[in-house]
Symmetry: C2
Subunit: 204 residues, 2 copies
DNA sequence: ATTCGATTTAACTAACTGGTTAAATATTTT
DNA sequence: AAAATATTTAACCAGTTAGTTAAATCGAAT
């Protein structure tokens, strides 16, 4: 029974993640989640008493996954540029595996920002630390001086937006030719790294 | 009565735009739109037979507004860089005035891409023309060579994403200090122009 | 004054949805 | 075998929402 309980709970969580990410909190239906999990609605409520509780479980799971170890930019004895490049690689790989994450997070963020705020606060994420590490790289002369917040917003924009706007990119540039679009997204990491570094590396 | 009809219809359209952009198609309620317009639900259906029809009217209005004259990048005898700078100025000014547009469009885009596609097709928007104009600037040696699709995606990302992720930016970087955040967004046009040009201008 | 369209009121339907319940059945544990 | 837990079934409740309807009222044009 322990196996059963664990197994079913896992099936529910997987199904809920699938459906919630695809449809969002508002669009998701408990019946659909039950169907996707291969169980019925009664059992779904037997495990998670309400849709809100189930959504919270999924949302925190997703956020903890999608806000990756910013520590990569922070820690490590390698140069800022090396750490930056590593961050882009890891982050875009993550987005390639979960292309619907940005859309989901943005949607829920605009629906109810407080949920995200609580999670960030709970996890002890410290944007000020990230900012100061960027500033230090500038003071060392590794990269050009600019407002570090703009720098960080630029980097995240270049990584995340193309995934959030995926259907538009596919339609406008590739007329929904999935293969060509896939290739395009596989080039993103290299493109972003070059584009940013060409802009911020101190020229000699 | 003609005045009345026009006036009411306009009130409805304004109210619907307000509510739809704030809550999206799923989240919006016909009752709320009626309230916002200062009329009742019966009259709302008297003018627009269904929520779908009303939404379509708003969505096409919004899209035609938000997909601005790309012709700026195309036409004009000035240099590509000058036209690029003009585009950024115009576009970010538009986003400053309507900061909830990106979130709204992305949400509806992910909910039902076909609506957007139809509109783009109907308006005769031609991404291939934009691409070829970017290519020409590269061939003239005005800017560095790269995949023009990546270039365009980069530019749009830098402009749009910060607005789509507005609540997150506000919370992470400004702890919801509205004044500081406002100032930050007012700097965006200059920042984006410099960031992009530093990356793509051919160095001498 | 009458007519005609605009608007309100208020009640209603029909469908959907989250959530509950109780009884029956299956499965596992002891 | 007995006890305990997991799961199903199927019906139900309560709240919400898009959309309808019919009658009354209002305002302007003829």
């Amino acid at each position: 029974m322990e196996q059963k309980r664990d197994n079913t709970e896992e099936k529910i969580l997987n199904a809920a993640q699938e459906v919630f990410i695809r449809k969002g909190m508002d669009g998701a239906r408990m019946q659909e989640i039950a169907d996707e999990a291969g169980i019925n609605k009664a059992l779904l409520h037997y495990y998670f008493r309400s849709k809100d509780k189930l959504f919270d479980a999924i949302f925190s799971k997703v956020i903890e996954f999608a806000f990756p170890r910013i520590s990569i930019i922070l820690s490590g004895e390698s140069s800022f540029v090396a750490r930056f490049e590593q961050f882009i690689d890891i982050y875009i790989e993550l987005l390639m595996k979960h292309p619907f994450l940005p859309g989901f997070i943005l949607k829920e963020l605009n629906r109810d920002p407080s949920g995200l705020f609580k999670l960030i606060a709970r996890r002890g994420l410290r944007p000020d630390l990230v900012i100061s590490h960027v500033e230090q790289a500038m003071e060392r002369g590794e990269i050009v001086r600019m407002n570090p917040r703009h720098f960080l917003v630029n980097v995240v924009s270049l990584c995340v937006f193309p995934f959030a706007a995926r259907p538009m990119v596919g339609y406008l540039f590739f007329e929904n030719d999935a293969g060509a679009q896939e290739a395009f997204y596989r080039e993103r990491a290299a493109v972003v790294k070059k584009f940013v570094l060409d802009s911020i590396l101190v020229k000699k």
